[in-house]
Amino acid sequence: MEELYPITQYVNEEGKFTDDSIKEEITAELVHSFYYNMLRIRTFDRKAKSLQRQGRLGTYALFEGQEAAQVGSALSLKKDDWVFPTYRDHGAILTFGANMPKVLLYWNGRAEGNLHPDRNIFPPAVPIATQLPHAAGAAWADKRKGNKNVSIAYFGDGATSEGDFHEGMNFASVFKLPVVFFNQNNGYAISMPIEKQMNSKTIAQKSVAYGMPGIRIDGNDIFAVYFETKKAFDRARNGDGPTLIEAVTQRFGAHTTADDPTKYRDQYEVDSTRDQLDPLLRLERFMKEQKYWDGKWEQEISTQINKEIEEAIVEMENFPKANVEDLFDHVFAEMPWPLREQKEQYLQSVRRDQ
């Protein structure tokens, strides 16, 4: 099957073209946008990790290593498309246009963290794989409305084992829905290596079960991610139905800040190969090779990104405290009496102290 699903790559680890059929489509603007967005989310990720260490953020899911997959897939989305991320895809949603302070609020246990203005971003899937049917459904609604929007569902290698993966894929294929199932195969589901998660050699081949196109790409090659995802969106927008994309990548760090990867993998090996695998370094090499690199520009955007992140942190930390009333006010449009009564009683009890 691996032969049936070879990995699509345009630019290799050294930053050299292995396939330059896309050369025409590459502009300086595009390359810069790749770099800018990847640097931005990496800086964010590292900052978030350190905030968590300082106790300024709750348990946090890191995505370092997966920046090409997340940026490349999110960049060709259009404003009215729908995104169904997991807890690890804030790199993708930030690229799509999520509000950065809100992303931080999410990781501080705030529902406000799901309120990104002007974008259709569903709250991150916490129960694994449940978002695939959602994405199919949202795409279905757009199909009925007759517009050209698409939906994208992000999910991991481990998610393929859940029934909801299967049922979502089946619905999308049966009803030919404009949805892209974007898998980040980062090799692990917490401690579980993919070889023990499934007996299939690839995730792409799972598309066969649904008579759906399946694509396997080098998820560290942002060119492969960007152009292949774009093609899949185009097919979806043109009424040609869903696509499964397997982006082969890796998670450099722990599963979350609560996880200790040394329990189950050789972190030394991860660290010693990361220079070679790092999607951002690969792009940098490409840019140098192709004369897109501009050290001054890099400095500038770096400063700008740091500023944006610092401002987002300030905004997050100055955000009004969680409001007790919200506990009750967003369960139903109109509060049924048990909630109304519980709310009143609780507020009375709280106020008695004040």
């Binding site: 729908w82 959602h134 609604a141 757009d142 006010d329 449009a333 049924p336 009496w337």
Partner: protein, 340 residues
């Protein structure tokens, strides 16, 4: 007793038709499909076949295959994709073939259908209806006869409705579809064709969250819903013959329960029998006890009696009549509380 009286939108109602409960369901679905283009029906065998109980008979032909959809055999897929449909502007009405087959979709219901509004502080909402036949007593094959309302009344974020008459079924289903939040709509399989009633044509609603007084009496309050209404009614009639007057309530909505109708009646009688088909432990009957404990403690003259399905899996049909509450068991309970 007259549904027209409870109607909020009256102008279109002129005539009535004699319908069974399942026909009233079809009527409500057809009314709402015609009314609102966002309404979509999804389910197994609901299209060409018109549903295994014919609840969607003729609707696909009338409204088309993109409004009335035969789905794959995939409850989590149906409910999960309906969440996506709903947040993106549609009003999905899902048929689960038998409520006991809803369990594969339980995850989608418990963490998404019920929580999208909370998780997004009302940015996204799920105006979905999940309707399904439920209950035992029709000699169905095993595992077709569960009555698992407790699993939904316990999970915050969904309302639970269960009519016992055709006119209520239509009015409550329309109300459920118009409700901005998810509603589980339980249809008593056993009553689908058991009764006919005059049902108003066109659009009308019966308010969710309101019980209905079936008969008035000062001695004992009898509370039930759905398929147990006719069962309890027989007992109430027998009790009457013996001189015990029952205040007989059809709850109609299981979450939120109509606290006022319960309290008002219990404070009058001080004696209560609750009847339900589902298992006793963690049954909705205990929610009624809780309401009475809170509202009417000082009025109680006898311990509350419950007549329920036993704490055993709903059995194969050879024993289902033994599992189900019977008029006799209800009658005994009425006498017991009356003579306490």
């Amino acid at each position: 007793m007259n549904p027209v009286a409870e109607t909020s939108t009256m102008e279109t109602i002129q005539t009535t038709r004699s319908l069974t409960l399942v026909q009233a369901v079809t009527d409500a679905l057809g009314t709402m499909l015609a009314e609102d283009d966002r309404v979509m029906l999804l389910g197994e065998d609901i299209g060409k076949n018109g549903g295994v109980f014919r609840a969607t008979e003729g609707l696909q032909e009338k409204f088309g295959e993109d409004r009335v959809i035969d789905t794959p055999l995939s409850e989590a897929g149906i409910v999960g994709s309906s969440v996506g449909l709903a947040v993106n502007g549609m009003i999905p009405i899902v048929e689960i073939q038998f409520l006991g087959f809803v369990y594969p979709a339980y995850e989608q219901i418990a963490t998404h259908v019920t929580r999208v509004r909370m998780r997004t502080m009302s940015k996204y909402t799920v105006p979905m209806v999940i309707r399904a036949p439920y209950g035992a007593g029709v000699r169905a094959p095993e595992i077709h006869s569960d009555s698992p309302e407790s699993l939904f009344t316990h999970m915050p974020g969904i309302k639970v409705v269960c009519p016992s008459s055709p006119a209520d079924a239509k009015g409550l289903l329309i109300a459920a579809i118009k409700d901005p939040d998810p509603v589980l709509f339980m249809e008593p399989m056993r009553l689908y064709r058991a009764v006919r009633e005059e049902v108003p044509e066109g659009m009308y609603e019966v308010e969710i969250g309101k019980g209905k007084k079936v008969t008035e009496g000062d001695d004992v309050t009898v509370i039930t819903w759905g398929a147990m209404v006719p069962v309890a009614k027989k007992a109430v009639e027998k009790a009457k013959a013996k001189g015990i007057q029952c205040d007989f309530i059809d709850m109609r909505t299981l979450f939120p329960l109509d606290r006022d109708i319960i309290a008002e009646s219990v404070q009058k009688t001080g004696r209560v029998v609750v009847v339900h088909e589902s298992h006793e432990t963690t049954g909705v009957g205990n929610d009624i006890l809780s309401i009475i404990n809170k509202t009417s403690f000082l009025y109680m003259k006898a311990p509350i009696e419950k007549v329920t399905g036993f704490d055993v899996p709903v059995p194969f049909f050879a024993l289902e009549d033994e599992y189900l509450p019977t008029p006799k068991r209800v009658e005994e309970a009425i006498e017991k509380v009356y003579t306490f």
